[in-house]
Symmetry: none
Subunit: 201 residues, 2 copies
DNA sequence: CATTATAGTATACATGCGTTTACCTGTAAA
DNA sequence: TTTACAGGTAAACGCATGTATACTATAATG
């Protein structure tokens, strides 16, 4: 991509700012007004330059400006279905608190978000208030971080296989390890933790 | 917010899909075509209902549809501009590796993503490979996690004010603390770390 | 039963908006 | 000096677009 002149950069900045503020791009005349121009031709020339240099693409129609910020991965939307520990999980879509956009590759069949409460997994960098992306699956490998349902209550722990038994291990030594014998109907896996979002650092 | 009728939900879904695909909202007639309607009045009624129920807001002008957050928050796109520690940061848009979608409220003027390398901040739950959202600002408060430029190299540390001096503290005790006297031209802040993404847990 | 909300079709209208043509100015390169 | 280009003003054109009026049909509600 070519370099932009200062004035062209002002135009691109205004388009981005308008997009962020309003959710839709500006009209040519709004660009004129914002940059203090009295004729539409000037703004149009800038848009033509921005398109020629590959920063935007345009379609016929009003405000049909598409900003091409390099490679833009499509967003996936995941539902925030509850907190852990705390149960049960609410899958029913009417009860979902919120749908949040995440990078497209985090999406996948049945994946969902849980807000983690407590500090039992701080040793693995999972802190109070973090959102974890859960990939639903009935089983998991030794050493993976999972969401388990113990007596109907969801909890995040690291899974450890010990022969016929499995253990649910907290990464904070202040918390006890739960040992589960095979065939224990009171414990099952909700899924594996595959990614994480933190809103306040 | 009131509930939507199935048809109104179709309209909202199409608006969101068009926004995601094109970067700008559809016109009334594009909505008609997408839903197989021959008159604009129908789509208009749906938009009026969506506005009345609080799912969108509208402004005078073409395609001036703004989808309101909460239900399905719009995505913000942030550029991944490099790694820390490693410098300098590449702001020039033509060198940006990637643009990633994040929850809309994480967006904001000039915010960007950095991939964290090393384990100097594991005490704060920031691990090797994590992506941090940086809000650019020239200064920060005591105790905030910041991105600092030391001799041209970017680094993530916790800021501590000590009278006239500031300290850049790692949260892993194995790493040294850097003490900076006021007016030291070799150190400046790139911004504050406000959120975090982890792709592999 | 009357009323209200949803969901359409058909038609018309004013104008916002993108586009175009013509002309002017300054600056930098050939 | 000429040429080219960025950046701009002024005025006009025509269609896309949002909006409005009128009419119809269906279902739920009281």
């Amino acid at each position: 991509m070519d370099e932009l002149t200062p004035r062209q950069e002002e135009v691109l900045d205004f388009v981005l700012e308008k997009l962020e503020r309003s959710g839709y791009p500006p009209s040519v005349r709004e660009i004129c007004e914002a940059l203090g121009m009295s004729s539409t031709r000037g703004a149009q020339r800038h848009l033509e330059a921005l398109e020629r240099k590959g920063f935007i693409s345009r379609a016929p129609g009003a405000r049909a400006i598409q900003v091409r910020g390099g490679f833009r991965e499509a967003a996936a939307y995941l539902p925030l279905v509850g907190e852990v520990p705390a149960g049960p999980l609410r899958y029913a879509s009417e009860e979902v608190e919120e749908w949040l956009p995440v990078p497209g590759r985090w999406g996948g069949r049945g994946r969902f978000l849980l807000r983690v409460r407590g500090d039992s997994m701080v040793g693995d960098g999972i802190r109070d208030g973090d959102l974890v992306v859960v990939d639903p699956r009935p089983d998991a490998e030794d050493g993976e971080v999972v969401v388990a349902l113990v007596d109907g209550e969801a909890t995040v722990k690291r899974l450890r296989r010990r022969g016929k038994a499995v253990e649910l291990v907290a990464s904070n030594p202040a918390y006890p390890t739960l040992r589960v014998e095979r065939g224990d109907a009171e414990v099952r896996l909700a899924g594996k933790v595959v990614a994480l979002l933190r809103e306040r650092v």
